[in-house]
Symmetry: C2
Subunit: 320 residues, 2 copies
């Protein structure tokens, strides 16, 4: 890697895992691009989607907030959620701003770009697509569950997820970013409902196979009820491979420390448990394993530690 040119890092994901990862990465000397899912259909985002026919703004909003260097009060305004008002209650200010800027500029992606500029965002943020898509799951028992927010609620094992309308066209810049990346990071997050909706778009899948950059998956630390109950680390990898093909993921970042009993107890109430680190099977998969203590022990909710993980990822690039 030349010293003149900053390494290009692309992060793909959504949900709550991605912003954490990005908060760490934004401080590194890299050229950062975030590709974000627009398949969410719950809450304020879902209402805006169905009423205004724009792609889901919620995941994008959280990524903007994570990468923004704006002053705290502006970010608080951006993340403000109305608690009163007929029809307004529950809406997030940032979602409304993204919807309005989409109207003003005539395009969702341009709307994101302009809002990002106002909020002094570090790096580039692209929606994985400009289209208003919907996510569906085929369960192990053959039933189909439609809608991102409904999928985890069915409490059946997921066989595969797919998008409609088909084929979903990705944002060309998103595909180009993957192709030109030095490192592609598949973010932690809800495996089937935040991560997969990006990866399964045909041209994204191809770009992940063709990129000269290394594709690294940062695995979830806890299982998620309705999505990954009982999944080991290798089950996560296998789920992705089943959707996008073998051999795309070259390396995996795994948490290798025991998770505190009190934290486990909190998660147990939501039927979530630590993701078992099944190293043998991972080695069989011919994956480079990057292990470390990557969680933030200062919080009651389990979160990746944004600096620890950013440093681990940066060390991968230095080795290249």
């Amino acid at each position: 890697m030349s010293k003149q040119k900053l390494p290009r890092v692309v992060v793909i994901g959504g949900g709550t895992g991605m912003p954490v990862l990005l908060r760490g990465l934004k401080n590194l000397p890299i050229e950062l691009t975030a590709l974000v899912t627009v398949a969410d259909d719950g809450g304020s985002t879902g209402r805006i989607r169905s009423e205004m026919a724009i792609p889901a703004p919620g995941d994008i909003r959280n990524v903007i907030a994570a990468l923004s260097d704006a002053e705290p009060m502006l970010l608080e305004l951006f993340q403000h959620r109305f608690s009163e008002g007929n029809g307004l209650s529950g809406h997030s200010m940032g979602n409304l701003l993204l919807a309005a800027m989409t109207s003003v500029t005539g395009n969702f992606n341009t709307g994101i770009k302009e809002i990002s500029r106002v909020l002094n965002v570090k790096g580039k943020i692209y929606p994985i697509s400009n289209e208003n898509m919907s996510l569906h799951a085929e369960m192990e028992d053959g039933t189909i569950v439609s809608g991102e927010s409904n999928i985890p609620l069915s409490n059946k094992r997921i066989k595969r997820v797919f998008l409609r309308p088909q084929p979903v066209k990705p944002l060309p810049n998103a595909v180009r970013a993957i192709e030109a990346a030095d490192l592609v990071v598949i973010s932690p997050g809800s495996l089937y409902t935040s991560i997969m909706p990006n990866l399964i778009i045909p041209q994204v899948k191809e770009a992940l196979r063709d990129t000269k950059g290394k594709v690294v998956y940062v695995c979830n630390v806890m299982t998620q009820a309705g999505e990954t109950t009982g999944y080991t680390v290798s089950d996560h990898v296998k789920a992705i491979s089943d959707h996008i093909g073998q051999g795309c993921i070259e390396a995996i970042v795994v948490h290798n420390e025991v998770i505190d009993k009190s934290i486990r107890a909190i998660y147990a109430e939501e039927n979530a448990a630590p993701v078992e680190y099944d190293m043998e099977r991972l080695l069989d998969m011919d994956l480079e394993i990057i292990e470390g203590d990557i969680i933030d022990h200062s919080q009651f909710t389990l979160r990746h530690d944004n600096n620890k993980i950013a440093n681990l990822l940066y060390s991968i690039m230095e080795k290249e």
Copy 2:
């Protein structure tokens, strides 16, 4: 007036007349303060008021837009009105931002200040009050009509307007601005529903009487159905004097050119006509009269010409 210190100009008003005036004044070498009504209760503003119990944001929003030096796209976003969305449709983005910033900062006036800062507003903007007030009118026939937006619809002659709850407390900074002003401009606009709600607050009334600054009234050019049908210029002055006492207004800016027939025809459809310039009665009132062609002839809607009027007002200060 010392050359070191910029003259302090305070403009009081609301509605559509005030932003026009401010667009001209903001380019002058003055210390500008806008005191804005919060008595509106129609449309998006009315919904936000009743659902969130904050003062009316709509007039403030238009003043912010008028005094802002932000880039056009940001202003377009700020003035964007949602045309879709259950509960969102009809809401103005700027009103929502003001409501959200009020929540974030805990105070309407602070919310305005912060939004003004983001939008690079020239001058200071104060709501006339932080209170959620309502406007009522006593008609000539003795009936009471409640609600700013209802008053012009009753099609009766207005005797007087008053506020509830009583006494309305003005914003201390608004009162101080009047007291310390070199020039106080009472803006054109809906006489009873945009201008009067500011002036009739007891402490504002007193400040207008006590200020060392000159109080100038910029009279409307056209009458307004439901408010000032048949009113001459002196009738406008008398209406204000009846509410705040004789002798507060020292000078009046009057349009002295004939209004184009085609424009008059458009206004006639809304039962509006040119305000008759009854100079004799104005002279009897012991008013300094500043007359000129102060309308913008380039538009189909009659508007004050913001530069002409700003220059006239500036010439008053130079004479002092």
